[in-house]
Symmetry: C2
Subunit: 568 residues, 2 copies
C-alpha cells in the first residue's frame, strides 16, 4: 500500500477525550474515527488489525473444535421474553418493524443459539458441540468512554457450548481457558484468569480474562500464595480485627446527634472508634422484599455481593419517603433495631464479635450506643461477606493481604448451566435411554475492539504504537528518502514491488512532499514492527530498524527478506 | 471436519416455502435456517461458503485498489436528514436509545461514508479513492421470499468512491465493471451487465450484474445485435406500428358506454381496434403536482419510467374522490380532454401519428371517439417513452425485437455524482487552485447471501448442490464404508488425517450408523466437488468421483492429492 493513497493519514490533533492512550494513538495514527459517542469507524489500518485479531481467534476456536456460524443481528423479542431477559437491567435496544414485529438488537445471543439448536433433533451422540460467531453487538450504555474500551457497538466473538452433563461442560471449560490464554498470547497480551461474578446464573465457573493495565476499569484482587485472581465483586474479604480488649457490655443509650453525616464525623462526635459504628442500608428487591443490610462503619456495601447473598436479581436503595413510611424516621438514622417484622436482616461478618457498638435508631436525630448482641439485638444465625473489598483487605483462607491491580477485561468464559435450556421449551436432547433432557450450556466471549485497544495500552512508547508482529497492519514500513532524485525513487519503488512480489505486506511511504522527520515520526506513530529506509546514504543496501530497537543496520535485499520471513 | 461432529446435518424435510430450489437445497443440506421471515442463520457449512465468497470479493476489491473499512451499523438519523433520505420510500428501521438519540439501521451507507471522509481535510492529491466494507444491511421489506434471494437482513459488500471529477469517476466505473465480472466468474457465475434505473440520481452510469435464472425477480431485455441489456424499468421501447391506411379525420363524437371495464371490452363495444383506444391515468407527485399520463390502449404505464420523465421522486395514483373533485367524473372515464389548466399532461410515443382515436371524456359514462390532434387536442411539444416494456417489444434504435430472460441481481454499480456531496455540508476537497469543491462519487454493491443462493440456483441437479471449487465448503467429501470393520475404519481415519496434514479441507463422513445409500445421497446433496470412498472393495486405493461426473476411478493417495491440488 502506498501511503500517498492510504485513506486515514496521521494527524497531530488529539481527539476530544484523551483520557486513554490507546484512543489518542489510534486516532492520531489513523486507525479509528468516532461516528457518535461509543460507535467507531475502523479505517483501513484499523480494519487490517481487527481482521488479523479475528483470524487468530478463528484459528484457535477452530482448533478447539468449535464451529463458526452467524445469527441475525435482530433477535425476535419473543425469544427474550421466554427467558425474561427482555426486562434485563442492562440497556436493550428494541425495534419494531412495519409489520409490528418486535426485535432486540443483539447484546448477547444465548436465546438465538438455543432457538437455532432446538430446531434440530439433538441426540446425546451429537453432544458436545460449540457454535461461535463474530457479530456486531449493541449495548445501550448510558456513558461511553472515548476510545474502544467502553463502546456501544462492537464486534464480539461469542461462543455457546452444549453438553449432556455438567461434567462434560467442565472439560470444555478447561479447554476454553487454554484456548483463550493462547489467543491472547498470540496477539501480544498476557492475561490473568480472574474469578468473576456470574449474575443470577451463579456457580463457580465464571472467569474473566484480564490484562494488567492502568487504563482498565476493573480492580483485580490477587492472592500471591495461591495464585488466585478475583474481580472485586467476588473477592472474599475478611474484616480487619477490631480489638476491644475484653471490654464489658455497658448499658444501651440514645444520643441526640442531629445532621451528622458520615461515620468518621459520627465517631468523632460520639468519641468512639470508627470500627464501633455501623452502616445500615435499606433496599428493595425486584420481588418487592425489603432488606436491611449492615456492615461495620468503615466498610461499604458491595451490591453485587449482597445480591448474591440475598439470592435476587436486582436491588435498589429505598427512597427517603419509603424509609419514613417504614421506620418513621428521616433518612440517615437507619439501623437494625426496631424494624418492622417483614424486613429481612443481613449482617456482614465485620459486625461479628463486637461489643458496645453504635447503630442508627430508626428515630430521627437519634443514634444508639453500646448496642450488644444477645441483649439488645438477636445474634443472627450466620454472618455474610457483602462488604466492598478494598486494597489492603485480607483473603480469608490464608489471611494474607490482597495485591491489587487495574485490569482490562478482554474476554470471559462462564457456565450457563440449565439457565436457558430449562426456560426455553424444547431446548433438549435425547439421552441414551431415550429420555428428553435439557442440555447444560457454557458461554465464551471476546471483545475484538477492546482486545485491539488493550494491545495498544500495553504496547506503546511516547512516540507511538508498537504492534506485535502477529497483528501489525503491515509487516514492513518502507520509507523512500528521495529528495526528488528519480534514481532513488526508482530504487525505492523497485524494492516495494519486490517485497510485494515476495508476499510481504508493505506500507510504502512514497510521499515527495513530506520531510524525513515527518516520515520517521509517522512510522513510529503507526507502529509497524520493521522500518526500512532507502536513501542516497543507504547505497545499494537498505536500512533495517525494528520499532522496538534504537539501532539500525544496513542489509541487502535478501537479508531483509530472510529476517522478515523468520519473524513473520 | 468429522460429519458426526458437524452441527447442521442433512434433513429430508422441506422448508415451509419451497418455491426456490436454492432455499430447499440449502435447507436440506444444512447450510441455513430461518430465524424469522427474511432473517437467516448461516450454519457451519453455509458460513464456510459465505466466508469464501467474501474472500474472493475482498481479493478482487483490494486488487482494484479499494480499501476495506467498517462503519457502525447504527447510523445517526441526523445524517439521513441532511440528505432527506429519512423520508425514503423503502423501509427504514429507526431506533431511539436511552438518551433519546435517534438512529437508522444501515440500509446503505452513503451518508456514513461521506460523514467519515469529511472528517478529514481532503486534497486533490488524495483523490481518487474507494472505501468498502462487508456489513449487515437491513431492509424493512413488507414481503420476504423464502430463502436468500429477498431477505430483510444480509451481508452486503458496499463500496463508495470519491473523485475530483466525473471523468475520473468514469475510469473507476470501468475498472469496477471488470472487477465485478471477475468476482462473479471466480465464484462460478456468468453475469450480464444490465442498464438500470438510478432513481432520482439519474445519469447513464447505473448497471446491475444479473445472473440468468428462472428464479430471478427481474426481467431483462436483451438487444442481440448491440449486445445491450436493459432492466425492464429502463428498456426503451417502440410502439408497434398502427397502420390506419390514410384514414381521414371524422367528427369527434360522445358515446355513452356505462361500466365498460378494460380497453379490450371498450374496443369491442365501440367496434374499433384496441390500438385506437387510449389509457389515461392521473397521478400526484411528492410535490403535490397533478399529472395526466396517456398511452395507447394496449400498453401499460411503467411508473419508474414515468417518474424519470416527470423528473420527480414518487408518484401515486390519485383517489376516486380526488378524480371526481378534479374532473367532475367517476373513476374510469379519465382522458386528457377538458382537464383543469394546472394538470400537467404527458403522452407516450405510442399516441403519436394516430387519427380518430378514442379517449375518456372526463364525464361519467361518456367516451369520446374520433379524437384528432391539432383539431380536438393540442399536439404536444414532445412525446415520451413511459410505457411498460413487454416481451416482443422493439428496441427503437435498431427496430429489432427484444429477447427477454429472468435475472437474479447479485451486484450493482452506479454513479452518485454530486447527489450526496452537495447536500452534506463540508463534503469537499481542495483542488489544485486551492478552491473547495464537492467530490464526485460512485457506489458499488454486492449481496453476499444472494450471490450464494444464485450459485445454487445455477449449479445443482435433482440430487443436490454442485459447488464450484472456488467456494465449496470443503474441497473433499471423504466417506468411510467400514461395515464395522476396525481395519477399514482405521484406514479411513488415516486418510482423513493425511489429507488434513496436506492442508486439504475435508468433510469426513465417519458415521457407523448410516447406510451406504444415505452417505452417498448426503454427499450429493451437500455438493462438495470431490467424493472419496474408502471401503473393503477399494483395497489400498481410494475411489475418486467428481460431483459433476458419473464415473469413479480408483487412485492411490498421491494421485488423489495431486488432483485436488491441481484443481484447488
Amino acid at each position: 500500500m502506498k501511503y500517498s493513497h492510504l485513506f486515514g493519514k496521521t494527524i497531530k490533533d488529539v481527539p476530544k477525550d484523551t483520557s486513554l492512550t490507546s484512543h489518542k494513538l489510534l486516532y492520531q495514527a489513523g486507525f479509528i474515527r468516532e461516528s457518535t459517542a461509543g460507535r467507531y469507524y475502523f479505517l483501513p489500518l484499523g480494519q487490517r488489525v481487527q481482521q488479523k485479531i479475528i483470524k487468530v481467534v478463528k484459528e484457535e476456536m477452530d482448533r478447539a473444535g468449535a464451529q463458526e456460524i452467524v445469527a441475525p443481528i435482530l433477535h425476535p423479542l419473543h425469544l427474550w421474553q421466554e427467558t425474561n431477559r427482555d426486562k434485563a437491567d442492562f440497556g436493550l435496544l428494541k425495534i419494531k418493524d412495519r409489520r409490528e414485529m418486535e426485535f432486540v438488537l443483539g447484546g448477547t445471543a444465548e436465546e438465538m443459539l438455543v432457538d437455532l439448536v432446538r430446531k434440530f433433533q439433538t441426540s446425546y451422540k451429537d453432544l458436545p458441540f460449540q457454535l461461535y460467531q463474530f457479530a456486531s453487538k449493541f449495548r445501550d450504555e448510558l456513558r461511553a468512554r472515548g476510545g474502544l474500551l467502553r463502546v456501544r457497538e462492537f464486534i464480539m466473538k461469542d461462543g455457546y457450548s452444549f453438553h449432556a452433563s455438567e461434567n462434560d461442560f467442565k472439560k470444555e471449560y478447561k479447554k476454553m481457558s487454554k484456548t483463550y490464554t493462547k489467543i491472547f498470547e498470540r496477539v501480544g497480551l498476557e492475561t490473568f484468569m480472574v474469578a468473576a461474578d456470574n449474575g443470577d446464573i451463579g456457580g463457580e465457573y465464571a472467569h474473566e480474562f484480564q490484562v494488567k493495565s492502568g487504563a482498565g476499569e476493573d480492580t483485580i484482587f490477587y492472592v500471591p500464595s495461591k495464585k488466585l485472581y478475583f474481580n472485586k465483586e467476588i473477592a472474599p474479604t475478611m474484616a480487619a480485627p477490631f480489638d476491644q480488649k475484653g471490654e464489658e457490655p455497658r448499658p444501651m443509650e440514645d444520643v441526640v446527634g442531629k445532621g451528622i453525616i458520615g461515620v468518621e464525623a459520627l465517631a468523632k462526635f460520639l468519641n468512639i472508634p470508627v470500627e464501633a459504628t455501623t452502616k445500615t442500608l435499606l433496599f428493595e428487591t425486584e420481588k418487592g422484599d425489603i432488606v436491611a443490610a449492615a456492615v461495620r462503619g468503615e466498610y461499604d456495601i458491595d451490591e453485587t455481593k449482597l445480591k448474591r447473598v440475598i439470592g435476587c436479581q436486582s436491588i435498589t436503595l429505598i427512597t427517603p419517603e419509603k424509609i419514613k413510611e417504614l421506620t418513621g424516621a428521616e433518612v440517615g438514622y437507619a439501623g437494625i433495631l426496631n424494624l418492622p417484622k417483614h424486613v429481612k436482616i443481613f449482617m456482614d461478618d465485620s459486625m461479628k464479635g463486637r461489643v458496645n457498638f453504635e447503630m442508627g435508631s430508626n428515630k430521627t436525630d437519634i443514634h444508639v450506643i453500646n448496642v450488644n448482641f444477645g441483649r439488645d439485638l438477636e445474634m443472627p444465625e450466620r454472618f455474610y461477606d457483602f462488604k466492598e473489598t478494598r486494597a489492603g483487605d485480607f483473603y480469608p483462607e490464608t489471611k494474607e493481604a490482597y495485591e491489587t491491580f487495574r485490569g482490562i477485561e478482554v474476554g470471559n468464559i462462564f457456565q450457563l448451566g440449565y439457565h436457558y435450556s430449562k426456560k426455553m421449551k424444547g431446548a433438549t436432547f435425547i439421552d441414551e435411554e431415550g429420555n428428553e433432557k435439557p442440555y447444560y450450556m457454557g458461554c465464551y466471549g471476546i471483545g475484538i475492539g477492546r482486545t485491539l485497544a488493550a494491545v495498544v495500552e500495553i504496547n506503546h512508547d511516547d512516540r507511538g504504537i508498537i504492534w506485535p508482529d502477529s497483528i501489525a497492519p503491515y509487516q514492513v514500513h518502507l520509507i523512500g528518502i528521495t529528495n526528488n532524485e528519480s534514481k532513488i525513487r526508482q530504487e525505492a519503488d523497485e524494492i516495494y514491488e519486490k517485497l510485494q512480489d515476495a508476499g510481504i505486506e508493505v506500507l510504502y511511504d512514497d510521499r515527495e512532499d513530506a520531510s524525513i522527520g515527518n516520515k520517521f515520526a509517522d512510522a513510529d506513530l503507526i507502529g509497524i514492527p520493521v522500518r526500512l529506509v532507502v536513501s542516497k546514504k543507504t547505497g545499494d543496501k537498505i536500512e533495517w530498524k525494528k520499532r522496538t530497537e534504537k539501532e539500525s543496520e544496513l542489509l541487502n535485499f535478501d537479508e531483509v527478506l530472510g529476517r522478515i520471513k523468520k519473524q513473520g
